[in-house]
Symmetry: C2
């Protein structure tokens, strides 16, 4: 093994796969308040906080290599209800729960973690398991 | 629709699903240099940079609800080669490429993006499409 790995600054992109981009966009934009930084028929990309991006790919549109002037993007594809967690401030938890309820999104479960974090779980229109997590879940949050 | 959504601080957790946890751990720890902050038979959790976590779940072990003293974690499950991108400094790109080659990981493709970022694509043992991306890919990186 060579010398220690160079550093990784963070997870930059997290990808979910959706069957109906319009339906998914209504959810992520109207309910969660995200604003796209890129959108076409295949991909909607949202900035989340200062340093991460949530990517919604149209299911079935990503398995083939995409050739672009600058190179190529290899294929990928996801099935099943994936999971990702979004970080929120503890002070915003009550407002987020109220917002989910007001927008008709059932809260499927809650967790209070040993280090003090609270997580709230709910589903997007494709059944992906989303989590809003307050600080105290991991050493990095 | 109620008032504007409270802020999201970032994507905290990105989940991949693996068939062989030992094999996956060797890849993420030996090749990518990640150090677990939690590990059991079902889950290995890695901090990535200051504010994000990469979660490896054993495929088949996540579909059922997990009941814990603090609440419950609903089921999720993923199939197929998913995608996530990891942020690296531009100054570390050459070292990262050399490290991938030295550890026998084929570089499947490269992209130079319009705003100046370079992405390098490769696969983990489960075929998930990983990307190392230098700044200039998105407004958030």
């Amino acid at each position: 093994m060579p010398s220690p790995a160079p550093p990784l600054a963070g997870v930059l992109e997290t990808a979910l796969y959706v069957d109906d981009m319009s339906l998914a966009r209504r959810f992520y934009e109207d309910a969660l308040g995200l604003v796209p930084m890129f959108a076409d028929a295949r991909l909607t990309a949202y900035p989340v906080g200062p340093r991460s991006a949530l990517l919604l790919f149209l299911r079935g549109a990503t398995a083939e290599v995409v050739h672009l002037p600058g190179g190529a993007i290899p294929g990928h594809a996801g099935e099943g209800p994936l999971h990702c967690a979004l970080a929120i401030a503890a002070a915003d938890l009550a407002d987020w729960e109220a917002r989910l309820i007001a927008t008709g999104i059932p809260i499927e479960a809650r967790m209070v973690w040993p280090r003090g974090s609270t997580s709230v779980y709910f589903r997007d229109p494709d059944g992906h398991l989303l989590e809003l997590a307050t600080p105290g879940l991991w050493p990095v949050w």
